[in-house]
């Protein structure tokens, strides 16, 4: 090794250590910011070290590098300024970029040194490019769905599973046969084509409500694709960072599946939200509509109020209005808590970020398992644009499509107020017996307007 190489490897080692320390600091909100600063410093060290890489070819090489870095920053910085409600689609897009980068490195490496790579590297390279390509298109579709540029409901057609299986097997077949005959470049490029199509085919049948799982899974694929790049380039920091990303996504997707009591294959191939629409209507009864003033009085004289937000809060941009109402209630001595279901929203932790943005202190944000024991002693539970995550059918009705899914048991509270846009069914098309219970009062209208009006009414009580 030359001196440059030692310098390079040292920066990579420092980066790896700082990445791990950065992620470790995320175990508590108080240490998290400093930790991520360390991770960013690690990244800067690794990039700086790489700029002295001996393979970089003269000033022209630097021109290309700087062009890429400049354009990347010019796009990346505005992408960090998006409103918090747009976090899910922004994250999906960044999965797409990460995967694209890994795939392109693979293709470029193959075009440069494909003939001299050993079978191990060719295997890792194929894996990297395949996973990168399918994550790229899959993430773009997910982003389009989240941005509502595309229908959010599952897109399904007859024989879809067979078509998807066909694409998948063709892709794997091309991968294997190309491994056996690396000279056949057309196989390599056809495999990329199949992977790009497969990414689309994988995500279009999945409904928006299942996006937390899909996002985590794509996160994991993007990470693994980076890790494979590390194998191709024999670069340890790439392996470490990619594996950390891959495992993080994997753990999150398992947590999300558990929070819905569904298996990964059910989420990926179940087309949830399309098939079950006709099974609804079994529960009957009337929904009790309540007036704004009634609710205001109830809230004002409560000891404890729990807000349970769902994706509806994000679409109505109601997080600030919730916080204002919560403030008023706290001033009156009401204990105000927020119960957050793991799959509320469109990505893991979505609701927490929105409420934190609206100045809710993190100590008021409770996880599902923490808030459930408190609900029986809660006077009013306010459901804001959430549906399935508070559906008692999941607990009581073994025939329900969401049977066994853990829920926030708002129906155990002394009274429940549901803020809802209209009388229609929720996203999954499931009937929610909570709305027909005697403890439940329905307050129809836009969540933000309702909450603002409630705050005014509470002030008058």
């Amino acid at each position: 090794m030359t001196d440059t190489n030692y310098f390079l490897e040292a920066t990579y080692l420092i980066a790896s250590i700082l990445f791990v320390m950065g992620l470790k600091s995320l175990s508590h909100p108080d240490t998290a910011r400093r930790g991520m600063l360390m991770a960013a410093a690690g990244m800067a060290a690794a990039v700086l070290g790489t700029l002295f890489h001996p393979a970089i070819n003269g000033w022209q090489g630097y021109v290309w590098i700087m062009t890429g870095l400049a354009i990347g920053s010019a796009i990346g910085i505005p992408m960090a300024m998006v409103p918090m409600t747009a976090m899910p689609q922004r994250t999906a897009l960044s999965h797409a970029f990460g995967a694209l980068a890994a795939a392109l490195v693979g293709v470029a490496e193959f075009s440069l040194r494909g003939h001299s790579l050993g079978p191990v590297k060719v295997g890792a390279l194929g894996f990297e490019v395949m996973l990168g390509s399918l994550t790229f298109t899959g993430s773009l579709i997910a982003a389009a769905k989240l941005q509502e540029m595309m229908r959010g409901t599952p897109i399904q057609f007859k024989g879809q599973h067979i078509v998807n299986l066909g694409i998948f097997l063709t892709m794997i077949g091309l991968f294997v046969s190309w491994q056996l005959n690396t000279g056949a470049i057309w196989m390599f490029y056809s495999m990329i084509g199949c992977a790009l199509v497969f990414g689309v085919a994988l995500v279009i049948p999945i409904g928006s409500a299942d996006m937390p799982v899909v996002m985590s899974l794509l996160n994991s694929y993007a990470g693994l694709s980076s890790a494979s790049t590390g194998f191709v380039l024999s670069n340890n920091v790439l392996i470490i960072a990619g594996t950390l990303d891959g495992f993080s996504g994997f753990i999150l997707s398992i947590l999300m599946c558990k929070a819905m009591n569904r298996s990964m294959s059910n989420v990926l191939f179940g087309g949830f939200g399309a098939i079950i629409a006709e099974e609804g209507g079994a529960v009957g009864g009337t929904m009790r509509e309540v007036t704004l003033d009634d609710v205001a009085v109830q809230l004002a004289y409560a000891n404890q109020v729990v807000f349970v937000p769902g994706y509806g809060m994000a679409t109505a941009q109601a997080q600030h209005a919730v916080r204002e109402l919560g403030n008023l209630l706290e001033e009156r001595g009401v204990s105000v808590k927020y119960g957050i279901h793991p799959v509320a929203g469109r990505m893991p932790g979505h609701m927490n970020v929105l409420l934190a943005e609206a100045n809710v202190p993190y100590s008021s944000l409770y996880e599902m398992d923490q808030i459930n024991p408190e609900l029986p002693t809660t006077d009013v539970a306010v459901v804001i644009g959430a549906n399935d995550v508070v559906n008692p059918d999941a607990r009581d009705n073994p025939k329900s499509p969401i049977a066994g899914m853990p829920i926030i048991e708002v129906d155990r509270a002394r009274s429940v107020v549901v803020l809802k846009r209209g009388k229609g069914k929720g996203f999954s098309g499931l009937e929610n017996p909570l709305f027909f219970k005697s403890v439940t009062g329905m307050l129809y209208g836009d969540a933000k307007t309702s909450l603002t009006n409630l705050a005014q009414a509470v002030q008058k009580v």
Binding site: M36, V47, I65, M347
Partner: protein, 125 residues
């Protein structure tokens, strides 16, 4: 399960050491150790992240996996032929989007998670 199989595939591809060709077995084995240990470490570290911070976790790991930037920098900088240079430069661009955007937005988010006392102190100002 699919995921485990994919992971296993990496191993199978990796352990085909018999005709490892241009990659010295020692390097390959070291790489596999790194992979296995990073996986274990990742599991340990990440399962301690509370659900409260799952969105920042996702954007943070995203930013970190932008480390493929260093691979792309070398390919773009090598300036070997037109195809690889263009692919490399596009890869530098997309990885850089994740690095800058990812770290900035993670910080922006983490800044919002505050204690009650801190929020009250700020509101007084």
């Amino acid at each position: 399960m699919n995921y485990l199989l994919f992971t296993a595939l990496v191993f199978v591809v990796g352990t085909d050491a018999e005709n490892a060709g241009h990659i010295p077995p020692a390097v390959l084995i070291a790489s596999l150790y790194v992979f296995a240990l990073a996986a274990f470490l990742g599991y340990q570290v990440i399962s301690r992240v509370p659900p409260l911070l799952h969105t920042p976790l996702m954007s943070a790991t995203n930013a970190i996996s932008g480390i493929s930037l260093i691979g792309s920098i070398v390919i773009a900088g090598e300036h070997a032929n037109r195809l690889s240079t263009i692919l490399g430069t596009v890869a530098v661009t997309s990885a850089m989007i994740n690095v800058t955007g990812g770290f900035l937005i993670t910080d922006r988010m983490l800044k919002m998670f505050r204690k009650k006392e801190n929020i009250k102190a700020e509101e007084k100002k």
